[in-house]
């Protein structure tokens, strides 16, 4: 008898409490800055984003993917049916049987969740997450039992009558309360189930919706500069100082974290013992906007840092008590965490947002950072070379210059490798290939400026914007169909970060990485190369972050190597799981100490394949990997390997 009213009451009360929690939680997010999102479209797109994009990431771990489908899917279905059957009391054997089915499915999933928590890997957070599988099991068993009468398996009297049933009633009630507290109350009041609630909304209101369906974009929006005339932000700070400086949907995104630690497992800085753990960073962000301390955090700490001392508040400066600025400067912006995150959280953008405050407002870019930024401002290149020496490398290359020709098929964006003797070998190799393929090509010469990549990653968006605008102004004077570069960082900037400056300079222009372009040339039969004689040696390929994860180009470099007859000895961490060389995001400049060097770890990945040559497609990767002490495999840009195989013209034939 009691259960007849107690059960619906409990369900109703907890649903109401969940509702109140949801409003409270939403209010925490609303402390963030306004950001326009299309609410309806976002909500409509959410299921597809969940089933397609998110599931695509989860699916990489088939075991967990199936476990989650059973548990999560079972729960969502069961909860809906619980409301129908037990709250609204709809008497339908079909519904009851469906509910039993859903609960069985959830039970099976929960068993596997339970099993995984028996001896969990270090990347998983413990704490409340350890009790979740038990509550999942309790929920599924309890409601299974409670639903048996409705399904006609047990008599209605099962829950009525005698003394013995009193005990059962009390037990069941307690179990119902326990499991619903976890599943409903906990969902909006900060329990582990929060991920379902915040995660769903995060998918709907994601700050970078174009990433769903595989779009390549930057999450870094241009900072509105106080110096801009008619700026609405005059007097406001640049970048993110306090949690409330994030956009509201960024705060929402932090809340979606399931603390699975996949980010932690792939983070090169974490592995190198630098004080960064992306999972902890996101949790600290939650501490920041929700207030409190990190003492309840039950995962791996930032390497060599204590847990429990960090305090946060929505209007408290993040780097004053919540996290140390070293944590922010340890990131190589490689996006390994972003790629692995099943909740589609954007760690890197958040880090750069916070760096902007440190650089633009505080002038606290560490180590060589300030010097490099000053160099860029004064000379338009990070190492402070004379701008007039930018084209010295090409003195003997007989390249056309845009200033003279105005119009060309392919504009070769040389990038700052122009100043570096090692990188110049890549440039010359690429030019050799372009000439062999009779490509109509020109360079900007001294009119080219640094792309702004380093400035932007170091948080100096003002300098990035200045470079971008001036580069676009130069580009807009000329006509070209394609712009090709050997530098994935410049490639990313040109392709994805030069929009939004009101310039048409790159409208209708194909922005290509040299490997993509060379692959086209080979496929079109414009470039004939001899097979590569490896003499029994093995070759592996290192995916540059800004080419692979940032821009999705994994195939062209591999096809190029295959076209030479090279069978790539793949590293365990390759493709979207490639480990960063340590050279991105200005990390070699800010140079936060760790226990190991990232490049050394990457070289271990290389040597474990038995390769004696590693092919790369990035001058920065080349520099980082060549910085590893010898003996080690040789490092060659794909352009260098290809240029060595150009079919020589027959005797008497003129090049």
């Amino acid at each position: 008898m009691i259960l007849d009213w107690l059960l619906p009451t409990l369900i109703a009360v907890l649903l109401v409490l969940a509702g109140i929690g949801a409003v409270r939680r939403a209010n925490l997010w609303r402390a963030g800055q306004a950001e326009k999102v299309d609410v309806i479209a976002g909500l409509m797109a959410m299921p597809k984003r969940y089933l397609h994009d998110l599931h695509h990431v989860v699916e990489r771990d088939k075991y967990m993917s199936r476990t989650h489908v059973a548990t999560g899917g079972g729960f969502v279905l069961a909860m809906a049916l619980v409301v129908l059957v037990h709250l609204f009391g709809i008497e339908s054997k079909i519904l009851a049987w469906m509910l039993l089915g859903a609960l069985t499915m959830m039970f099976c999933g929960a068993l596997f969740v339970f099993k995984r928590r028996i001896n969990p890997p270090s990347r998983l957070s413990k704490g409340p997450w350890m009790r979740l599988p038990k509550n999942l099991l309790v929920f599924s068993i309890t409601f299974f039992v409670l639903t048996l009468p409705a399904a006609g398996v047990l008599p209605e009297s099962f829950t009525l009558g005698a003394m013995g049933n009193w005990i059962l009633t009390i037990v069941l009630s307690v179990l119902v309360l326990l499991s619903l507290s976890e599943m409903l109350f906990g969902m909006t009041w900060g329990g582990p189930m929060k991920h379902a609630f915040a995660g769903a909304l995060h998918l709907a209101f994601h700050r970078r919706p174009e990433r769903f369906g595989g779009g390549r974009s930057t999450g870094l929006k241009a900072v509105e500069l106080a110096s801009d005339s008619n700026s609405m932000t005059f007097g406001k700070i640049h970048g993110v100082a306090k949690p409330s400086d994030f956009k509201w949907n960024q705060l929402l995104g932090f809340d979606a974290c399931v603390q699975c630690g996949r980010c932690e497992a792939v983070c090169p800085a974490f592995a190198a013992g630098q004080p960064l753990n992306p999972k902890k960073l996101i949790q600290d962000m939650v501490v920041g906007f929700a207030g409190g301390t990190d003492e309840k955090y039950a995962g791996s700490p930032y390497p060599n840092k204590e847990v429990g001392k960090a305090k946060g508040g929505v209007d408290q400066i993040i780097t004053e008590g919540l996290i140390s600025s070293e944590t922010l400067w340890s990131c190589t912006t490689c996006r390994a965490c972003v790629e692995e995150c099943p909740m589609m959280i954007e760690h890197v953008d958040a880090i750069v947002d916070m760096r902007r405050f440190l650089t633009l407002e505080k002038g606290e870019t560490p180590n060589k950072g300030a010097q490099v930024l000053e160099n860029i401002i004064a000379t338009d290149n990070p190492n402070g070379h004379s701008p007039a020496s930018r084209t010295h490398w090409a003195a003997d290359q007989n390249l056309k210059v845009m200033k003279d020709v105005k119009q060309v098929d392919v504009l070769f964006w040389v990038s700052d490798g122009a100043f570096d003797m090692r990188s110049q070998r890549i440039l010359r190799s690429f030019v050799k290939l372009l000439k062999a393929a009779n490509v109509d090509v020109a360079i900007l010469g001294d009119e080219e400026l640094d792309s702004g990549d380093v400035a932007r990653r170091l948080g100096d968006d003002a300098t990035f914007q200045s470079l971008a605008k001036r580069n676009l102004a130069v580009l807009s004077q000329y006509q070209f169909n394609k712009i090709v570069t050997t530098d994935p960082h410049a490639f990313h900037c040109l392709k994805n970060e030069y929009g939004g400056f009101g310039s048409d300079a790159l409208k209708g222009v194909d922005v290509l990485h040299h490997t993509t372009f060379l692959n086209q040339l080979i496929k079109e039969g414009r470039l004939e190369l001899d097979a590569f004689a490896s003499n029994g040696g093995k070759v592996t390929y290192h995916d540059p972050c800004y080419l692979g994860r940032y821009n999705g180009e994994y195939e062209a470099p591999r096809e190029l190597l295959a076209s030479l007859g090279i069978k790539i000895a793949e590293m365990e961490r390759s493709g979207y799981r490639s480990r960063c060389c340590g050279g991105g995001g200005g990390a070699p400049i800010t140079d936060i100490p760790g226990e190991r060097r990232i490049a050394d770890m990457r070289m271990e990945d290389v040597t474990s394949t038995g390769a004696d040559m590693v092919a790369v497609g990035c001058q920065q990767c080349t520099a980082m990997l060549e910085g590893v002490v010898e003996p080690r495999p040789v490092i060659r840009d794909i352009a260098e390997i290809l240029a060595g195989q150009i079919r020589e013209p027959k005797e008497g034939e003129r090049v």
Binding site: H385, H392, Q397, M421, R422, R654
Partner: protein, 692 residues
């Protein structure tokens, strides 16, 4: 970014962009053997430099513009005929293909030549004064002849331009006709072509005007001048500054090349191409002085050999371009290696001057330590490719230059190489040669080879005397013997080597035998070893008489090296005696008596001394060779036809070769065959092993 950025700043000469600051300056190559036409050898030699990254090559040192300036003595380029134009086109294409630039030096040598050959011309000079170095008598040039030669200069420049070369360099250095007019030492004229400053300048000025008028304003016309003739009656540095400014003021000269020293005596000639006895860049201050007064780029060569030195000179702004000519003869990939971050792999010139000393004998220019240089056309490689065939077990016995080169080349080919050396260090006779005063830099040859074999992972066993058993134990596919020789003191038993009456130059230089107080050196070889031993002993305080049966001590040493020995020996009061044979040595009253006999009169003389040193060359160490010969598949033989054609040894191509059935391949090279020199041993090692 690199510490060498300053080397790689392009700079324009007139409108011509030179990709870096390194120049191969004009030198006589002795390769234009086809009647003064640039041959395939000539072109490949320069193409290799361009391929290796050299910014500007100025070829054809002393290339002649007129038919009465003989070119055959040094096989220099002949620009007196249009026949040269298509040859220039091939040369220009070969260099331009690799981004290099190429110009040619043009000249009329005036009295600085030999008249006794080719067209048997009367040599001409402003005042008919004989030139001592070439024993060249000459006539006083007449005005008609001057105007003809001026016209010849213009026509030669036209031919260079039509041939696609990037410029011409007027030689007004090394006492050619233009600077014969400049120098009051040679120009005693009182007409308008001499006397006053303007008069002495007139011939050069007319040449410059005629050339500029012919080629137009944009074609590069440079001028190579001396910075100081170092003759009291010649042009000093202030004179040269005045001259440089005078020509620069015309705005018709696009650059100046500056060389320290005149060269119409043997002693000054040695300054021009400073050998290893000189300090680095000894005459840079003269070039810097010229740069002070002119407005166009200045090039300076002379003992600039390594990238750090070049960098230091350029960063300090002394000159605009650094000439590294011998540096490129030793390693035409000099620039490429800097760019490849392989500075340690640059084969550095040691100033042995084998190149230039051969040139003065009318022989083709070769590098003592790089046998591939100028043999590119034959297929000798500077960059040795890895083999695509079988990896062989190669054992090299003997770590002198031949053995080191064999080990290096075999290792570059990818073979497993073991190098066995009896001594505690590698280098062979080079180690000894470097002990002499002013000869220490010769050790650079071995230093580079040792660094290379170490880099290439050759297994090196020092203090190990190889015998038949050791070689067999190592079970090589190929065994190369480079066991060298030993001093040949027992040729004449009357010298008393067996009784210990004479010692060798090796004993002296190695320090094995203490220097005597009063020493007679008997030198039948007349190359470096006897002179070095004399210099060494004298520097230790010995009283030395250097006796030879040849026509003069050191006669086998070339024109840029014997003067520096002579300076040192005369200064130390070493007595040099020619034409005397050492008949016999005997001991008397605790002293040694050396009996000398004049070759031409048979008159005998005796010397009472404390020590007799005999330099009679070496005798081959061939014991190991004969011990191994019978068990080798090729009986130790090298196929000379293949060797001379730079083709693989037939034994390597024998498909059925199996060392277990037939035995290993055995070769020997260097002094363990017969005494030759460093180049000969390294050349054989390279041409044998490049196809291994």
């Amino acid at each position: 970014m690199s510490q060498y950025d300053v080397l790689f700043e392009p700079l324009n000469i007139n409108k011509l962009t030179i990709r870096n600051r390194i120049v191969s300056t004009a030198h006589a190559e002795v390769y234009a053997t086809d009647g003064g036409m640039t041959t395939e050898r000539y072109i490949k030699y320069y193409e290799e430099k361009a391929k290796g990254g050299c910014g500007l090559c100025i070829c054809g040192g002393s290339s002649v513009v007129s038919i009465d300036s003989p070119n055959s003595w040094w096989s220099s380029v002949n620009l007196s005929t249009d026949r040269i134009i298509p040859h220039f086109q091939n040369l220009a294409d070969a260099v331009h293909k690799h981004g290099g630039k190429i110009m040619i030096q043009i000249t009329h040598m005036g009295r600085r030549s030999r008249w006794d050959g080719e067209n048997w011309p009367n040599l001409m000079s402003p005042s008919g004064i004989r030139e001592p170095v070439h024993r060249a008598t000459c006539k006083t040039i007449e005005v008609e002849e001057m105007w003809r030669v001026i016209g010849d200069f213009a026509q030669a420049a036209r031919r260079a331009k039509e041939g696609g070369l990037d410029g011409v360099e007027l030689s007004a250095v090394h006492q050619h006709l233009i600077d014969q007019f400049w120098s009051p030492r040679v120009n005693k004229r009182t007409d308008e072509w001499g006397g006053t400053f303007e008069g002495r300048m007139k011939f050069g000025m007319e040449v410059l005007k005629a050339v500029r008028a012919e080629v137009g304003p944009d074609f590069v016309v440079g001028m190579r001048i001396t910075g100081d003739e170092f003759h009291p009656d010649g042009l000093n540095h202030d004179d040269m500054k005045q001259i440089a400014k005078y020509y620069d003021d015309t705005n018709m000269v696009d650059y100046f090349g500056v060389v320290g020293s005149g060269c119409d005596t043997h002693n000054t000639l040695a300054n021009v191409i400073p050998n290893m006895s000189y300090p680095p860049e000894p005459f840079l201050h003269l070039a810097a002085g010229i740069k002070d007064v002119v407005n166009v780029p200045v090039i300076h060569a002379q003992n600039i050999k390594d990238p750090n030195q070049a960098k230091r000179i350029l960063e300090a702004g002394y000159v605009d371009f650094v000439g590294m000519t011998r540096a490129h003869i030793a390693d035409p990939h000099f620039i490429a290696k800097i760019k490849m971050d392989q500075v340690d792999q640059i084969r550095q010139c040691v100033g042995a001057n084998y190149c230039i000393d051969r040139q003065y004998q009318g022989l083709d220019v070769l590098c003592v330590q790089n046998a591939a240089t100028s043999r590119e056309y034959m297929g000798l490689p500077h960059i040795i490719e890895k083999t695509t065939g079988q990896i062989r077990n190669v054992v090299v016995v003997g770590g002198g230059p031949g053995g080191l080169e064999a080990a290096r080349v075999a290792a570059e080919r990818g073979h497993k190489v073991t190098l066995i050396e009896k001594a505690p260090e590698l280098g062979g006779q080079i180690t000894l040669a470097a002990k002499a005063p002013q000869r220490d830099q010769i050790a650079g040859i071995a230093r580079w080879l040792v660094m290379e074999v170490e880099r290439l992972g050759v297994e090196i066993r020092l203090n190990t005397e190889a015998d038949e058993n050791l070689v067999k134990e190592l079970n090589p596919d190929v065994c190369i013997l480079t066991t060298g020789g030993r001093p040949f003191l027992d040729q004449n038993p009357a010298w008393g080597a067996a009784e210990g009456l004479v010692v060798s130059t090796w004993d002296i230089l190695s320090g094995k035998v203490e220097p005597g107080k009063n020493v007679l050196i008997y030198d039948t070889i007349c190359e470096f070893s006897g002179m070095s031993a004399a210099d060494y002993l004298a520097s230790k305080g010995s009283l030395v008489e250097l006796v030879t049966d040849d026509i003069k001590p050191g006669v086998g040493i070339g024109g840029t090296t014997f003067p520096t020995y002579y300076r040192s020996l005369y200064e130390k009061e070493v007595i040099m005696t020619s034409d005397m044979l050492l008949e016999k040595v005997y001991r008397e009253d605790g002293k040694l008596v050396a009996v000398l006999e004049n070759e031409y009169t048979a008159q005998q003389e005796e010397r009472v001394v404390d020590q007799v040193v005999v330099e009679n060359g070496t005798k081959a160490n061939e014991e190991l060779y004969y011990a191994l010969k019978e068990s080798s598949c090729n009986k130790g033989q090298i196929d000379n036809e293949a060797l001379f054609d730079i083709k693989p040894q037939p034994v390597l191509e024998n498909a059925s070769f199996d060392k277990n059935d037939n035995g290993m391949i055995l070769w020997r090279l260097g002094d363990c065959v017969s005494q030759r020199n460093i180049h000969a041993a390294m050349f054989d090692a390279l041409r044998l092993c490049k196809d291994l």
